[in-house]
């Protein structure tokens, strides 16, 4: 792929019950990203907004944020899906030769709607929507299938929650930093077994924006901040119906990771990747995603977390930001993973910095039980 870089990022604080409107949240993130990139709004090449009509309670939800995202007087478009997908489309547009850069901005206010009913709308109205499944109950089916097959324990999943909530203390954007123990997680109320309250992500509002630039544009100005080079991106969708998938292993993630790694020249992810931000909507998911990403063998996710290698200070710290377990504005969360990876590679991650990080992975999911996965490999080294 041709070279392109992320030259600016901006995030709002993630929290519940934000009083800003969609446009105000988007404006905040976009303004921050522009400042971060040393750009003014007139420098924006084109815009990709990431919105969802259901979460916003508004058809043509992109309309509400078009002006705030900088789309006035220029080409703009809208992806409905996770921010990692929107960013990928933004990258494609930047590489098309028509624009020098793309502003990608995602927003959501999950606390405004009825999240369970909204997620239930992802199920097939002709068949199983009427069962009333939502994100938690459907993910629980996947969690159990995974854990049962490989003997992964609830305690191992709980470690993910402990790690990520603790990491969140170092991230001023995070919604839910917590000092908890495995015991706290185990004793938290059961939601849908084996998922307990402290295994789930919070209901968060917020926005995130990134600026993707062509090589020429990224190098044009004498930038105070290092451009972060995009080395590989890929996404892949599994079967739709849960009964048609192998719920114990994500084939779609493996396929996406393989393609992104091939583009980026990654053959040994655990060694070559210095930091990873993955989409842990539930604690068990982080373990499953370790396996699909090739950080460990199939079924070995529980062992990997126990080894400490994905903790801060370990071989491959995962989710220094606190991850999705600490902040979950749906649709934004994948873009936030990319933004966090950028901060790491710039050395701007403050207390959550992984020292000397040169290669980062960012990951997002979309649909029921992570039907679609999108994998990004970034580096602060151009070559």
């Amino acid at each position: 792929m041709d070279k392109a870089a992320i030259v600016g990022v901006g995030q709002t604080k993630y929290e519940r019950g934000k009083t800003g409107s969609f446009a105000e949240l988007v404006f905040e993130a976009v303004t921050k990203a522009l400042a971060d990139a040393g750009m003014e709004s007139k420098d924006i090449g084109n815009v990709v907004t990431v919105t969802n009509d259901f979460w916003d309670g508004r058809t043509i939800s992109c309309m509400a944020v078009a002006e705030a995202s900088g789309s006035y007087g220029r080409d703009a478009t809208n992806v409905e899906g996770d921010g990692t997908l929107g960013a990928f489309y933004g990258l494609m547009r930047a590489l098309s030769g028509v624009y020098s850069n793309t502003m990608v901005v995602a927003h959501s206010k999950i606390s405004e709607g009825s999240p369970r009913a909204i997620f239930n709308c992802a199920f097939d109205p002709v068949y199983d929507r009427i069962l009333g499944l939502d994100a938690i109950s459907s993910s629980a089916l996947q969690a159990r299938a995974y854990m049962k097959k490989f003997g992964v324990t609830e305690e191992q999943c709980a470690r993910v929650s402990v790690k990520n909530h603790r990491n969140a203390w170092n991230n001023s954007y995070a919604h839910v930093p917590l000092d908890i123990t495995v015991k706290d997680v185990m004793q938290s109320p059961k939601l849908a077994e084996p998922i307990k309250r402290l295994d789930t992500s919070p209901i968060s509002d917020g926005a995130c924006a990134i600026v993707i630039a062509t090589e020429e544009e990224a190098k044009k100005k004498k930038r105070a901040k290092k451009p972060i080079w995009i080395k590989g991106v890929a996404h892949c969708a599994d079967a739709y119906r849960l009964g048609e998938r192998d719920l114990s292993y994500s084939n779609a993630l493996e396929a996406a990771a393989r393609k992104a790694y091939q583009m980026a020249g990654i053959t040994d992810p655990l060694k070559q990747i210095d930091v990873a931000e993955v989409y842990d909507a539930f604690s068990y998911m982080e373990l499953m995603w370790y396996e699909g990403l090739g950080f460990c063998g199939r079924g070995q996710g529980g062992k990997l977390i126990e080894s400490g290698q994905t903790e801060m200070g370990g071989e491959l710290p995962v989710n220094p930001s606190g991850g999705v377990l600490s902040a979950h504005p749906v649709g934004v969360a994948g873009l936030a993973r990319i933004a966090e990876a950028v901060l790491q590679l710039r050395g701007e991650a403050g207390k959550r910095q992984v020292p000397r990080a040169r290669v980062a992975l960012a990951h997002g999911i979309n649909g029921i039980c992570g039907q679609t996965h999108c994998v990004w490999v970034l580096s602060n080294e151009e070559a």
Binding site: T19, R116, Y127, D128, L141, R144, K190, A192, I195
Partner: protein, 162 residues
Amino acid sequence: MNEAMFEVREKDGLLIHQGYIKVPHLWAAGEVASRFYIGLREKKILGLRCPKCAMVFVPPKKVCHRCFGELSEWVGVSDEGTLETFTIVHYSEPVLHPMKAPFAYGIIKLDGADTGMAHLIGEARLDRLKEGMKLKAVFREKPEGNYLDIKYFRPVKGASHG
């Protein structure tokens, strides 16, 4: 039509308007799903077979996602099957949930089918649910032409557990 404003609250000196949107829908099931539901009326469960992939899909669907072939070979499958995975739900969502918590969802592979179907588990001791156990469909007395014409799946009494 859609009422935008219902109730106005205040937080930090800012107003918060509450409202809801109502967009009614009427989904066409299509010929394939219609036939499935007509089968359920007669307490028969039908699937569609993909000859190329040698797979029977339950519930049936017109196109095989693996080979993209159009399916037309209807197959009757058993109303009994195996529990592949499950969860016990402890929270309440009265608008969504057909049963009161705690209750269980499962993925059940019926004998003769090659895919699992998500559904409810009823008449069961929740603490005795196990992967591999045999379940049987319980049909609704008065079918309405939807997925809950199977009320739930119940454990087969006397069957040996996996």
